[in-house]
Amino acid sequence: MQRVFLFLFLPLLVSADLPLLEPVAQGVFPGGLRRGSESSITIRGRNLQQLKRAVISGDGVSAEIVDASAYLAKITVRASATTEPGRRDLRLIAPHGSTLTWIDISDVAELTEREPNTELASANQLTFPALVNGVITAADYDYFRFDASARQTLTFELLATRNGSPLDGVLELLDTNGKTVEYCDDHYAFKDPRIIHTFNSTGTYYLRVYGTGESGSENSDYRLIAGAMPHADFALPAGGRRGSTVEITLHGVNLDHAKELVLGNGIARATAVRNDQKSATFRMAIPLASAAGVHSLHIQGAALPIPFVLSDGPELTVSPGTARRRQDPMPVELGTTINGVIDSARAADYFVIRVDQPKQIVLSVESMKLGYLLDPIVLVYEENGTRIAWQDDPTTNTGKEPANLDPHLTVALPKEGRYTVAIRDSQFRGDASYLYRLTVKEAVPDFSVRVVGAHTTLYRGRDNIVNVRVRRLEGWKTPVEVWADNLPRGVTARSAIAEPKNTSYTGTCGERHYLDGTNVELIFKVEPDAKLDLNQVTFRARGAMNGREVEREARARYWKSRIRVTGDAAEPALFATIADLPGVVFQTPERSATGRVTAIVTRLDNSNEPMRIEGEGVTPLDVPAGTTRADVVLTKPGDVTLYGLVSGKVIGQSAPIRTEIRK
């Protein structure tokens, strides 16, 4: 039956209430591949029909769409043997929008769990090093059996939420009788567990993987990395100045065989100068021409990299415990970045700075940003011990947005003299992996700009909103103008001003909350005849303070994903798809086991005409304009699609509904 789609192009402001029309990736299985190999990867999600392209960030990895339907897509991914391991952005692009998810490039042979493995007796055998891709459905348990020898230290890493999986996983180490030896529910900030265990006796053991509280779904994929491979929790220092040679000590386990260290995709390499089981030291020359920012340090044979920051200022490394005396703080020069570790509970590191005149300084901490669990707080004291400033989090974390626990405190030192700066965990905790990088410098007012979201869809004939966040740094106090560049023909957007006041909103109990910066809305007007296409839109911002003009380019930031993780997308531009809105959107379940289905109906055609819902295997149903819910009877098993017709013309359709008809 030939269907004619009718689209109405009305100049409407796109509201935030629009049903989701863009592709969404909910599960990626397997979640990665070994470099030097090719893998067929299944994407589970919604609105995946008509995928045209799959783009993977960075060099050496490519992907192509093999098959795509509303809920499922298959792609083939190829990774070159020399490409850098680690997580990559995977963008899936369709005419109706794009999305961003991730895949992981490993350096280990990859396996897939073999069901049934839901009890000790049917456990899958693990041979180390192992990288197993698995899925945890509801009330599912995956058992793995392995042998360990006395005094052997094994690491078990579950990569799930960190790579975008909805699995809130648990790892449980069991002895040969199935009794729990150790368990971990959350180790990393966003729920992934990890166990590092040194075995007391030789024998057969089991690892149990499951969802916390028996949660799970078809989309709850994971990557289990296990073995006696080198593992580093952090490097100290965790950063180095470009053009300098840095002695880097890794701290972790099984590091006695860590021989080579590679920075990023071969920016620099180093060989070990000394090793033992828990540490390995390397001397690395950092090229002056390398890019500043966060890079990965890859340890030969290790499963996961650790972060390393390339900077442009002097760096100071503080061995744990050497700056603990408040009465005798460690002297530092303004402009220094201090690398340290708060390794014991209720400990703090103290530093002293001297200023020869009143001065505004900034204390900026990187810890959570680098993936560490320290929740830093910084405090400033006058010489007489009076506390004059402190900051825990830059703004209250409320769950509305991804959290930021790293302080950024700008403080005016009122007179010349010595000031003590302290850093500790705001929860008074300590751990051998609670690393921080504290930069103490004279404040130079500045701002950063981020696009809220890495992709969007701009609908023709409508006004579309894109949020851009301006975060004022180091005492910036003046307005900032934000605008979009590289706009395609038929798309316009006026600039907007970010006033020097954090955006606020009201919480559910009427309380006032503030965002970490100022959100500005840029309204994109898309003409009805704008070209249907994917565009990479860049944003810039400009402001002036104290006679100094600053201009910055925005980076796209993945923001509210399934997990509330935030970070910069590999590509700085916003992926903006120009598309048409359908006349009606049906939100339907993927399956119907009863032969009935309730569809949430959103009419976008601005018509007062009634709509008929029909389709093959659908009992026709007439619904008046304004209907938001329709109970539809399905008469045919298999995939059934609902069509919405107004005056005999199709204005939209549902995704297929997998239908069972039970008598």
Partner: protein
Amino acid sequence: MKLYWLIAPVLAAAPAVYPPEIKLFGAGSAQTVVTDSAGCVLAVDNPKVATIDKSRIVAKSNGAAWVTAKCANGVTTVPVVVRAAGAAIRKSFVNDVAPIFTMGGCTGANCHGSIRGQRGFKLSLFGYEPEFDFASIMPRIDKSSPEKSLILRKATAQAAHGGGFRFAADSMEYKAIVDWIRDGAQFDSKDTPRMVELRAYPKEQIAGRGASPRQIVAVAYYSDGTVRDATHLVQYSSNNPDIVRVDSRGLAAPIETGETAIMVRTLGHAAAARVLVIDPAARPTMTRTPRYNFIDEHVFAKLERLGIEPSELSADEEFLRRVYLDAAGTLPSEEEARAFLTSKSPQKRSQLIDNLLAGPEFAELWALKFAELTRAGTREAGAKGGRIIYEWFRKAIAENRGYDKIVTDLLLSQGAHLFGKGPSSFYNISFDSNAADHATNISQIFLGVRIECAKCHNHPWEKWTQDDFYGLAAFFARVAVKEVYENDENATVYNEEGEVIHPKTKKPVMPKYLDGVKEDQRQDSDIREALARWMTRTDNPFLARAFVNRVWKHYMGRGLVEDVDDFRVTNPPTNPALLDALAADFSKSGYDIKRLIRRILNSRTYQLSAAPNESNRKDSINYSRYYMRRLMAETLTDAIAQATGVPDKFAGYPPGTRAMQVYSGSSYMLSTFGRLNRDIICERDTQPDIVQTMHLISGDSIQKKLTAPGSAIAKWSTMPDEEIAEAVFLRTLSRYPSLREKEAVTQALKDGDKKHALQDVLWAILNSKEFLYNH
């Protein structure tokens, strides 16, 4: 003559006189005196110093003398000292007038002490705010004609009064008020002495059922060191009027056998006098019961005073099942039961106790109890946080960490709730929980004090005031919860700033220990460290007593103080000496939990039979036998699973998880049998009810297990008939069957389908009291 007086000499070797020393201050001052023996005659050896007026010693001149009580069972003397005998003491509003309104019941919550007062006359609840009461009373007095004061005309029923007659015109109360008005009806100056302590005598007495009422004496101690007879100034009430009734003058009448306390209170002070009522006719010939340790000394000493004969020592079968269920929360296996019952070792009981305390089940049981007490898993930290704190408790118990260290770690806890291995979610009752909540919970959990009433008003039954409450809350002023990472991931933090504001003064409150001094909160310090040090000091009056009482209740079925978290002067322990001894032993041992439990389990008191004798049948508070009680929900659930050989599956938990390991959440079976939902801190209801009975008779918990494949029935079905009964009884009841039971089982097996017969036998046993109760 009442029977009591006949047996009194048996009960007391020598007479006692109360108060044990008499101090009189001021002209005409007097002290009521009582003795604990019959037919006593009082005399003063120096009538120039003091004389006797009925039962009152009356001051005459400054000096010292002796009061002698000659009784049927001996003679006792107590000193009397008189000072300022020539000085007329001005009446004080606070000390002399305000207590009259408390004593008369006028300040009660159902009278003028109610939130709205009565007929426009409002007094502070129980007279805790004399300034307020003074302002209320002043418009109701007549300085020119004190007798015409409305306050007196109402109280004496000369004017219409909803509260009726309160005291007579020739009473001491009436005279005190008139004198105060004549003196100018002033409020006290800042130099007026304040009451600092109230005592009631005798602190404990034994009375025969139906004996004549006996006087309770109250003595008030003041800030200037003076002492006054407060017998006529206090309000009396009985904790159990069915056992002892007390009138407004303090005459206590023993009504029924049992034990209770007379509460005595005035001006924010309270005291208690215990009365043990015995049946003199039922007094048995006492045999000296062997003592295994100091617990028995205290328990049996009291039983001897009460004339209660303890039950026999429990049989090995009784002890075996009891100690497994109490200490490990499990039944012994068939093999373990056989091994114990056949052992001839004289140390087999203590060895079994040691083994059970060393086992993982012991740690799981106490971890669950702690988890319940701290309401783990019900808060925003959810099941994840619940598991972390449960595992922390489990490890702490397994390695026998000192209770002082456990408490310290909990008090100082902070950190992200879903990470690490510590009790970081301890304070996370809810996202908006505050210092007042923490004070309420911590005082109840660790100090055994319910102080929450004092959050809104001074405590009605105790000495605690709002100042005490907010002083304790101030220790937690900087404890806060903040969000980290995702919106269900919170962390407890200790803020750099924060204070508690007193709701009345609107001023910041300094941290203050309960019954103690204030503490200064300094920059960059954690005041909770000071609180933890105070709480865990060996001389802390609360911590050890509260904990040993909880432990005692678990093993003995009833706390020495009930409810276990309601320690107050007016709710005294049933055996104060035992509670003190247990607490002292516990704190001096370094708060060694296993040692405490080992002491209790090794006592003969714990090992007494549950079978009563004629003497102790009615005793429910003196531990003269093991008190039978229904198994706790988790123990029963696991026992059914163990007996049937069919494990349960708990939602959200891996297969193989026992009920005792379910750290948070519940199931129908567990909830039905009293597992708490942990919304509030409270003790479990251990009473059986009809829902439980019906569930066991026809619900899933037993029925499905009886027919499940792989059950114990399948194993028994393959055994020779003559061996089955023994196997069934050892597995379920930890004992060999009697001959009659064995014959009944064998006959049932012969009569029909073996599998069905076994299902019937097992169903009957699982529904028997013997299985459902610990005994």
